[in-house]
C-alpha cells in the first residue's frame, strides 16, 4: 500500500487524484448503501473527485439486473443526496454501476461476483484496484472475508491494490473484536483495512486536530495545569425506532461509547503527532486509550451510570418507553443511557476527570466536547460577581448540530453598578465557510480511495477501546439488576448520572 495525500496534507486533494478502481459494495440493497454510500459517491462524482473509470459493483441477495439496480440507486440518490441530481453527471456515474447477486458466505455467489468483477475491470480498465465495502450486518463479516480469502487463494485477486472498509460495530466485546481482527488480517494487511467510524469523517471532528495543533495559543493550556475537566456528550432525541432488535443486543455503551465517544476522547486528549498521517495520528490516539485507568468491578458503581428511558414527551410529541419499542423484549436490561467518569494516567491529564455521556430520548440532539478550565486563581471582583464563585471559561466544540466552537468568558456588563456576565465568543462553521461541507461518508470514501487511513480506526485502537468497555460491562454484570425504566423520555437521563458528576462538585452542562 502506498499512502497518498492525507485529508490534511498541504497539497489539495484534487492534486493527488486516486487511481481507477472498482468499489465492491456488500449489502447493496441495505439502508446504509441507499442513504449514505451511493449519495456520497454521487456527490463525489458531482465534484469530479472520483478517479476516472471508477466502477461500483454492488452485491446483495436480491436478484436485480444492472439496469434495475441503477433505477433503484437513482431513486435513493434523489431522496438522500445533499444536492439534486444533474442528469449528465448521473448518466456518466450510473454507467459505472453494476450489480451481482448472492449470499454473503455463498461460494457460488462469490464466484459469480468475481467473474463479474474481472469483466468490469477489463472493460473499464481499472488496473485491478479494488475497494471492498462491507455495508452488512456484523454477523456476516467473517463469512465475506473468508470468501474474499478463498478468491485470493484461487488467484482471483486483483492485479492492483485491495482494500477493505468495515462498518461499525467492530465486535461486540474484546474477544469478538480480536476474532474479527484475526479473520481480517488473514486476508488483508492492517494497512489495507479501513474501519469506519463515521464520526471521524465529520468536518468538525477533523477540525479538532486543526484547532489544537495549528493554533499556538491552545497547546500551552491544554493540560492538567489549566483544564479542570472535560465533558463529552452525544445525546439523541430519537429512540431506537426500527432498530430495537439490534439495539437491544448492543446498548448505549457498545453503540456509542466504545466507538464514537472513545474516538472523540482520543482526539481531544492525544499528544501532538509527529506528522498528520495515518500512522502518527493513530499512534497517538491509541496511547490515549491505553492511558485510560481501567475500572475494578467495585469502582464501576461510583464512576458510571446507566439507564433506560420510560415514556415521555420529546420535542412536543409523546413517545413510548424503550421496552414498548418494536423488537425490544419485555424486561430488557439494555441501557439506552450511559455515563462514565474516566481518568487518564498520563503526564498531561493526571487528575483531570473526563465525563462522558450518551443516551437516547434525551431532550435534544447534540454532540459536543466541552473543555472546562480552572477558575482565575484570585477573586479580584468581589463586588462584580453575582455568584459566590466565578463561572469557569468553557471551550465547547459542537460536533452537531450547529457545528462550531465557542468560548465562554466573563465580561463586564456596560454601565453601573459594575457586574459581570458570561458571554460566548462563537464561531459558527457554516456561517464562516458558506460552501456546503462534504458528508462524512464522502470524506471517508475519498480517503480510502486515496489510501489515507488517518480517519479510520486501527485494530489496536479498537481492542484498547473494548478493553476499557469490558471493565464497565463486567462491573455492571456484577451489580444487581436495575429498576427500569429509570429516566423519563425527554429528560437528561437517570438521577444516577447527575449524582455521578455532582459527587465531584460539578454539573453536566445544559445543552
Amino acid at each position: 500500500m502506498t499512502a497518498q495525500a492525507s485529508t490534511f496534507a498541504a497539497a489539495p486533494v484534487s492534486d493527488s487524484a486516486p487511481h481507477p478502481c472498482t468499489i465492491v459494495i456488500f449489502g447493496a440493497s441495505g439502508d446504509l448503501t441507499a442513504r449514505m454510500l451511493l449519495p456520497a459517491l454521487y456527490n463525489l462524482a458531482l465534484d469530479r473527485r472520483l478517479p476516472p473509470r471508477l466502477s461500483i459493483l454492488c452485491y446483495a441477495r436480491t436478484k436485480w439486473t444492472d439496469e434495475a439496480f441503477r433505477e433503484e440507486a437513482r431513486k435513493n440518490v434523489e431522496k438522500h443526496s445533499r444536492r439534486p441530481i444533474d442528469p449528465d453527471v448521473w448518466d456518466s456515474f450510473a454507467a459505472g454501476i453494476f450489480y451481482s447477486y448472492g449470499g454473503y458466505d455463498d461460494p457460488e455467489g462469490h464466484d459469480r461476483l468475481n467473474e463479474r468483477l474481472r469483466e468490469v475491470e477489463a472493460e473499464r480498465d481499472t488496473g485491478g484496484n479494488r475497494l471492498y465495502y462491507l455495508a452488512v450486518p456484523p454477523t456476516t463479516f467473517i463469512g465475506i472475508i473468508e470468501q474474499l480469502g478463498r478468491a485470493q487463494a484461487q488467484g482471483k485477486g486483483g492485479e492492483g491494490w485491495s482494500r477493505v472498509i468495515v462498518e461499525k460495530p467492530f465486535g461486540v466485546d474484546l474477544a469478538s473484536a480480536r476474532e474479527l481482527n484475526r479473520a481480517v488480517h488473514s486476508v488483508f494487511d492492517e494497512d489495507d483495512v479501513y474501519r469506519i467510524d463515521h464520526y471521524l469523517g465529520k468536518e468538525t471532528v477533523q477540525n479538532i486536530l486543526v484547532f489544537r495543533f495549528a493554533n499556538g495559543i491552545m497547546e500551552p493550556i491544554w493540560n492538567r495545569r489549566y483544564v479542570d475537566h472535560v465533558q463529552i456528550t452525544v445525546s439523541e432525541s430519537l429512540g431506537v425506532g426500527s432498530r430495537g432488535s439490534y439495539y437491544n443486543g448492543s446498548g448505549a455503551l457498545r453503540d456509542m461509547l466504545q466507538n464514537h465517544i472513545m474516538q472523540l476522547l482520543s482526539l481531544v486528549a492525544m499528544e501532538p503527532p509527529l506528522a498528520i498521517d495515518g500512522r502518527s495520528v493513530r499512534n497517538e490516539k491509541v496511547k490515549v486509550l491505553n492511558a485510560v485507568r481501567l475500572f475494578e468491578d467495585d469502582e464501576v458503581a461510583m464512576a458510571t451510570a446507566r439507564g433506560q428511558y420510560g415514556p415521555g414527551w420529546v420535542a412536543g410529541e409523546e413517545v413510548p418507553a424503550y421496552h414498548e419499542e418494536e423488537g425490544v423484549p419485555g424486561g430488557s436490561q439494555t441501557e439506552t443511557f450511559a455515563a462514565l467518569r474516566l481518568f487518564l494516567d498520563s503526564w498531561r491529564w493526571a487528575g483531570v476527570p473526563f465525563y462522558l455521556r450518551t443516551g437516547k430520548r434525551l431532550p435534544k440532539r447534540s454532540t459536543e466536547i466541552a473543555v472546562s478550565f480552572k477558575p482565575a486563581p484570585q477573586l479580584l471582583f468581589h463586588d462584580f460577581v453575582e455568584k459566590p464563585h466565578l463561572e469557569p471559561n468553557v471551550l465547547s466544540i459542537r460536533i452537531q448540530p450547529n457545528e462550531g466552537i465557542s468560548l465562554k468568558f466573563l465580561t463586564k456588563v456596560p454601565g453601573s453598578p459594575p457586574r459581570m456576565r458570561p458571554a460566548a465568543m462563537d464561531f459558527l462553521y457554516g456561517a464562516s465557510f458558506v460552501a456546503q461541507a462534504p458528508s462524512a461518508y464522502e470524506t471517508l470514501i475519498m480517503d480510502a480511495l486515496q489510501g489515507d487511513a488517518t480517519l479510520f480506526t486501527r485494530s489496536d485502537e479498537v481492542e484498547a477501546a473494548w478493553t476499557i468497555m469490558e471493565r464497565v460491562l463486567s462491573g455492571w454484570s456484577s451489580m444487581p439488576p436495575l429498576e427500569l425504566p429509570n429516566y423519563e423520555a425527554g429528560t437528561w437521563g437517570p438521577a444516577a448520572a447527575d449524582e455521578l458528576i455532582e459527587r465531584d462538585g460539578r454539573q453536566w452542562r445544559r445543552l
Binding site: A315, G316, E317, P363, A424, A431, R509, L511
Partner: protein, 381 residues
C-alpha cells in the same frame, strides 16, 4: 406550510404551521447563517449575539406582540435568544406553529448589525402540557434561561412549572395577576418548591419609591425618626376591592425598612391595617384614588407621619400631574422642604431591563414575599 426566509430591511423571518422541532432548528440554522454573513458580501457582516435565553409565556397574541416589542427594544442591552410561547392546551389538535425572526440593529459607531433571534411558538393541545420538551431543544446551550410570565397566572400551576423546569430565573408581573394577593401567595409557595430565582416586575416598579424613602430616612434629618412612625398611608390607583399587590409589596418593604413586626399584622377591613413595633401599634391606611397615566393598582402617594417626644414630622412622596415626576415633602420641627424629582418610567421594558441586570441573583423579592405572608393573608381576609 412554510414561507421562505425573507430579507426585509432589518428583519429576516420564517413562518411554519404544524412543524416539528427539527424543522424549526433547521430554519434557525438558516437564519443564523443569513445573519452571520452575507454570501454576496454586499452589506458586510451582521453579528449574531445572545447573552441570555428569554422565554416569554404569553396568554394570547396581544400579550405576545407586546412582549415581543419589549424584547426587541431590549436587544441592544440584553441580546437574547427569545422564545415567545403561546399555549392553547384546550385545543383538540396537538401541534406546534412557529415563526422565526432575526431583529437586527446597527451597532453604534460601526457599520455592522447586531442581530437577535426570536422564535414564536403557538403550542396547541396536549403538547402544551409538555412545553419543556419543546423549549429545551431551542435554547442556546450554557446561557442563562429567564422565563418571563407576561400575563396573569394560570388557574393551574403545571404550565408555569413546566417552564420553570428549564429556567434559572422566573419573572412575573403581579400587576397582571387576576387575584393579585392570592397569586402572590401562590408565587411564594412556588418559590419554596423550586430552585429558580423569582422576580416581579411590579416590585421592580417600586424601586424609585423605595430609593426615595431610603434616601430621605437615611439623612440626618429623618433618619433619627425612623423608629417613631406614628402612621402610614399608601394611596394607589383604583382597581379591585382588594388592595393591589404593589401597595402590599411596598408596605412589606416599608415594614422591613422600619423594623416593624410583619407577623403582628392585624386588619380592620382590607384598607386599615395595624402593625407593631416593640408593642407600639402603627396604623396603616390603604386608599384607592383616581389618577390617570399609570397602571391600575400602581402607587400614587405614600405618607409617613412621625411623632417623638411631643414633636411631629412627616415624609410624603406624591405623583404630580406628570406621572414621571413626584414631589417629596419632608416636614421637620425646624422646617419644611419640598423637592420635585423625576422618576424613571416603569414601563415593561425599563423594569424588565432592571430585572435582567440585577435580579437573577438578587433574592430580595422572594425573601420579602416570604416575610410578607402574614400581611398578604391579613389583607385578603
Amino acid at each position: 406550510m412554510a414561507q421562505a426566509l425573507d430579507h426585509e430591511d432589518r428583519e429576516l423571518s420564517w413562518t411554519g404551521r404544524a412543524v416539528d422541532i427539527d424543522r424549526i432548528e433547521a430554519e434557525l440554522t438558516k437564519l443564523r447563517y443569513f445573519t452571520a454573513g452575507d454570501p454576496e458580501g454586499a452589506e458586510g457582516f451582521a453579528i449574531r449575539t445572545s447573552l441570555v435565553n428569554v422565554v416569554v409565556y404569553a396568554e394570547d397574541d396581544d400579550i405576545a406582540a407586546q412582549a415581543s416589542r419589549v424584547i426587541e427594544d431590549l436587544a441592544a442591552h440584553h441580546p437574547s435568544r427569545a422564545l415567545v410561547v403561546i399555549a392553547r392546551p384546550s385545543e383538540d389538535e396537538s401541534r406546534i406553529d412557529a415563526s422565526l425572526a432575526a431583529h437586527c440593529h446597527l451597532a453604534p459607531g460601526v457599520d455592522q448589525q447586531v442581530c437577535c433571534e426570536e422564535i414564536t411558538l403557538h403550542v396547541s393541545g396536549r403538547a402544551a402540557f409538555h412545553l419543556h420538551s419543546i423549549i429545551v431543544p431551542l435554547l442556546i446551550p450554557d446561557l442563562p434561561v429567564v422565563v418571563w410570565w407576561a400575563g396573569p397566572l394560570p388557574d393551574k400551576s403545571h404550565l408555569i412549572e413546566e417552564l420553570c423546569e428549564v429556567a434559572n430565573h422566573l419573572i412575573v408581573d403581579s400587576s397582571r395577576f387576576a387575584d393579585q394577593l392570592g397569586d402572590l401567595a401562590r408565587i411564594r409557595e412556588f418559590a419554596s418548591l423550586h430552585d429558580c430565582a423569582i422576580g416581579d416586575l411590579n416590585y421592580e416598579r417600586l424601586r424609585p419609591w423605595r430609593d426615595l424613602v431610603e434616601q430621605h430616612t437615611g439623612t440626618a434629618g429623618l433618619g433619627d425618626w425612623l423608629s417613631s412612625v406614628k402612621s402610614a398611608e399608601i394611596r394607589y390607583t383604583e382597581q379591585t376591592k382588594q388592595p393591589p399587590a404593589q401597595a402590599i409589596l411596598f408596605l412589606a418593604w416599608l415594614a422591613e425598612h422600619c423594623a416593624w413586626d410583619l407577623g403582628s399584622v392585624s386588619a380592620r377591613g382590607s384598607d386599615r391595617l395595624t402593625l407593631k413595633q416593640n408593642e407600639r401599634e402603627i396604623p396603616v391606611y390603604l386608599e384607592p384614588v383616581k389618577y390617570e397615566g399609570v397602571g391600575r393598582g400602581w402607587l400614587v402617594s405614600i405618607k409617613l407621619a412621625f411623632e417623638r417626644d411631643g414633636e411631629a414630622a412627616l415624609l410624603s412622596v406624591s405623583r404630580t400631574g406628570d406621572p414621571l415626576h413626584v414631589t417629596v415633602r419632608t416636614e421637620l420641627p425646624d422646617g419644611v422642604r419640598e423637592d420635585h424629582v423625576r422618576i424613571p418610567a416603569c414601563d415593561s421594558q425599563t423594569v424588565l431591563m432592571h430585572q435582567l441586570d440585577t435580579a437573577p441573583h438578587d433574592p430580595e423579592f422572594v425573601r420579602l414575599l416570604i416575610a410578607a405572608a402574614p400581611l398578604i393573608q391579613a389583607t385578603r381576609n
